[in-house]
């Protein structure tokens, strides 16, 4: 793709890891926050994970276990408020 900024790509096509720290707010504001944009982002993320870890000839357990671990972690965060009361010591 032809770039008009000579040293780098235009801001819109940069991935997150290539965005410099100063450009971060403008990059975030530039993203597509419409419902279809958000759905597209979820879809892209899903297909990125799927095609990297699941849709291969010799997959491994990692494709599934990472999803389960993320789910466990998410639920732990959700229920941390109640779990706080079951601590063994009061002061750490």
């Amino acid at each position: 793709m032809a770039s008009d900024k000579s040293p780098s790509l235009p801001l819109k096509e940069k991935k997150l890891l290539e965005v410099k720290l100063g450009e971060l707010p403008s990059w975030i504001l530039m993203r597509d926050f419409t419902p279809s944009g958000i759905a597209g982002a979820f879809q892209r993320g899903y297909y990125r994970y799927y095609n990297k870890y699941v849709n291969v000839k010799k997959g491994s357990i990692a494709g599934l276990s990472m999803v389960l671990a993320a789910y466990v972690f998410f639920n732990y965060c959700r229920s941390y408020k109640e779990l706080k009361h079951e601590r063994l010591r009061k002061y750490h």
């Binding site: 990297k52 699941v54 010799k58 997959g59 491994s60 357990i61 990692a62």
Partner: protein, 262 residues
């Protein structure tokens, strides 16, 4: 995603995949065609990658280790992991409850099962996959062979067309022979008819001659008999000792010349 070249602990320990059974022959249709006149980039579809992204402990992708490698070397992520766990435990951000022990036993059991039966389940799934692929390959080969046979037949028929002139030669020869035969047949017929007519004339002539001969002979015989009887009467009357034949020769009988012709 390029596979990192740092060795993980042999092949991934957790090498089962339930996921192999998931989408056995699903294709990653990621190719897209911009313009309909452009190259159709849907075919051939790129083949599935052989292995997924590398993951350590079944939980942490290899990219994380690579990310920390320049700053902290090989042990960095492990030290980070240990420190994190100790911090979570000591600050009781992770609370130890009875659920912890059930989680430990469950996860231990799962890890044991995966490590023991992972490879065999994977091979089984691979075999199923291979069977499906072999079936499809068979169909493809059969179709290719069919089309190849059709092509060969077409080529041979086209080659036959080149030999058509022999056929024309044969036909020409046949026609020439038929013409010749007809010609000779008619010639023979003409000969027969002409011979027929000539034979007729000859037989008419022969018959005429025969009839004339017979008639002449009869006439001569009659005259001879008449003359003999006349001679006998004459002899009897005159009693001359003249042989009848001499008497005959004295008679002026006009015997046509052709009476002597056989």
């Amino acid at each position: 995603m390029i596979q990192r070249m740092l060795p993980s602990n042999g092949n991934s320990k957790f090498s089962v995949c339930v996921c192999r059974m998931n989408g056995l022959v699903k294709l990653a249709l990621q190719a897209v065609r911009i313009l309909h006149t452009g190259q159709p980039s849907l075919a051939p579809v790129p083949p599935l990658p052989e292995h997924g992204g590398k993951v350590r402990f079944g939980l942490i992708p290899e990219e994380f280790f690579q990310f920390l490698y320049p700053k902290t070397g090989v042990t960095g992520p492990y030290v980070l992991g240990t420190g994190l766990i100790l911090y979570l435990l000591s600050k009781e951000i992770y609370v130890i409850t009875p659920e912890t022990f059930s989680a430990i036993s469950t996860i231990g059991f799962l890890v044991y099962v995966v490590k023991k039966y992972g490879a065999s389940v994977g091979e089984f799934a691979d075999k199923l996959n291979e069977q499906k692929i072999a079936q499809l390959e068979e169909v493809k080969q059969a179709s290719i062979k069919q089309i190849q046979d059709a092509i060969d037949m077409e080529k041979s028929q086209q080659a036959l067309v080149q030999k058509r002139h022999y056929l024309f030669d044969v036909q020409r020869n046949n026609i020439a022979m038929a013409l010749e035969v007809t010609y000779r047949e008619r010639l023979h017929r003409v000969y027969r008819e002409v011979k027929n007519r000539l034979d007729y004339h000859i037989s008419v002539q022969n018959m005429m001659r025969q009839k004339e001969q017979e008639h002449m002979i009869n006439w001569v015989e009659k005259r001879v008999v008449q003359s003999i009887s006349a001679q006998q009467d004459y002899l009897a009357s005159t009693s001359k000792q003249v042989s009848p034949i001499k008497a005959l020769s004295q008679e002026t009988l006009t015997i046509p010349w052709f009476c002597f012709i056989k």
